[in-house]
């Protein structure tokens, strides 16, 4: 494995525009070597544009992305030999079989492991003789994953890899990803809507919302500072302080808020004021945290 850069991907002040529409503005973050970085956001928040910029497929309006320390747009050719990609839409010549695709791609990569790739196709039960265009959605995804991993990549980019997969195929994909992480310490950049699936695997999380990055931290840190707090009837004037509420609602039985700055000290301070038997504090899953962050704009947009 060449290159000792601490950050495999470095997004620096990235802006993407389509005509008058700004999709990303001033987005910066780093994907440290060996991490599993989950990039989250609702549809249309620019995840795929960001991935295209990271892969050198799209020229940013401003800023840029460094892959292994080099500009992805300028040095795409050199960098891509070290990157495995599973695109959002499986894409390969429809008349070629999985076996033919493997044979076709092999010469481009000095690090190609054909045996492992054939083993994977076997494991995924992808029929050898069937043209790519006639495979199921799950099988097409499996072929893309086998191609991406065959080159023993330093960076694996998975763009919504579980989209359209059934529960069995989704589980197989995560199994494969975990095995790859364990065996080779591969760095992974994953965009996904399957928050329950990625939660136990990701170690860093970033959330895109309204063209900007609203979260970029370790998953442990994120989960440590978010809580749902319920408080029974309490005398006016009421305040959530010292908590900062992300969303707060009145209920029949009292009030409820999701707070983003939870600490044990703040819990003690709040309970001293609100009465400890009147307060309930609940941890949130990644999905619930995401909903409170990205769902505030509401609606089906």
């Amino acid at each position: 494995m060449s290159g000792g850069e601490a950050d495999v991907v470095s997004v620096e002040g990235l802006a993407v525009r389509y005509g008058p529409r700004t999709v990303l503005e001033g987005v910066s973050f780093q994907v440290p070597r060996g991490s599993v970085f989950a990039l989250l956001g609702r549809n249309g928040t620019g995840k795929s544009s960001l991935v295209r910029c990271a892969l050198g497929l799209q020229k940013p309006a401003r800023g840029g992305v460094r892959l292994f320390g080099e500009d992805a747009w300028v040095s795409r050719k050199r960098a891509m030999g070290r990157v495995g990609v599973v695109p959002e839409q499986p894409d390969a010549p429809p008349e070629m079989t999985a076996g033919e695709l493997l044979a076709f791609c092999a010469p481009f990569y000095p690090t190609w492991n054909g045996t492992a790739a054939r083993d994977r196709l076997e494991r995924y039960a992808v029929p050898r003789g069937v043209p790519f265009g006639r495979l199921s959605k799950g099988q097409k995804g499996a072929v893309m994953l086998a191609l991406a991993l065959a080159a023993s990549p330093e960076l694996l980019v998975l763009d919504d890899p579980t989209l359209g997969l059934d529960a069995v195929a989704r589980r197989a994909l995560y199994d494969e990803l975990i095995g790859e992480l364990a065996d080779r310490g591969t760095t992974a950049l994953v965009t996904t809507h399957d928050l329950d699936g990625i939660e136990p695997i990701a170690d860093r999380v970033a959330v895109l919302h309204a063209a900007q990055l609203v979260v970029n931290e370790t998953l442990d840190g994120l989960k440590g500072r978010f809580r749902r707090i319920r408080c029974g009837p309490s005398p006016a004037p009421f305040s959530w302080e010292p908590f900062e509420s992300i969303t707060a609602v009145e209920k029949d039985w009292g009030r409820e808020a999701v707070v983003g700055n939870f600490t044990e000290e703040r819990r003690a301070a709040f309970m001293a004021r609100a009465g400890s038997d009147n307060v309930e504090v609940v941890a949130l899953s990644l999905e619930e945290i995401f909903l409170s962050l990205a769902g505030t704009a509401g609606g089906l947009s």
Binding site: G179, A182, I201, G224, V281, A283, S285
Partner: protein, 130 residues
């Protein structure tokens, strides 16, 4: 055997560390026996291997596991070699966490103490030390 809840507020590495500690304490993981490889446990629990590594590392640092180069990771033969101060600190921290939980549930001091005694007896029974 080992259960984790990714949705829990306790970080997964800590759930794994505490779960394995419990299994060693209860004798389900016997002294001197090998523990599952990081890869196998990560796949079984469906978590990031680095998370399992972190738990193993902490257990090795704490003397619960021993790492033998080239052979793998094993349950230590004896209780971890901690200084008296380290042991006291670990126990105090765990007790403080337990008492905080009990207090927020409105559990009395006596009831909390009874639960500790019951858990102690249960663990000993598991080890066949009754």
């Amino acid at each position: 055997m080992l259960r984790i809840d990714p949705r829990d507020a306790v970080p997964i590495w800590k759930q794994i560390e505490e779960g394995l500690r419990r299994l060693v304490g209860a004798g389900s993981l016997r002294p001197g026996r090998p523990v599952p490889s990081v890869r196998d446990l990560a796949r079984e629990l469906r978590v990031n291997p680095m998370t399992v590594s972190k738990a193993y590392q902490r257990l090795a640092d704490g003397g619960v596991f021993v790492v033998r180069r080239g052979e793998g990771t094993f349950v230590a033969e004896g209780p971890p070699q901690l200084t008296r101060a380290e042991r006291a600190k670990t126990m105090r921290e765990a007790a403080s966490r337990y008492v905080s939980l009990a207090a927020t549930l409105g559990v009395s001091k006596d009831e909390a103490a009874r639960e500790v005694a019951a858990a102690w007896d249960g663990t000993r029974r598991g080890r066949g030390e009754e």
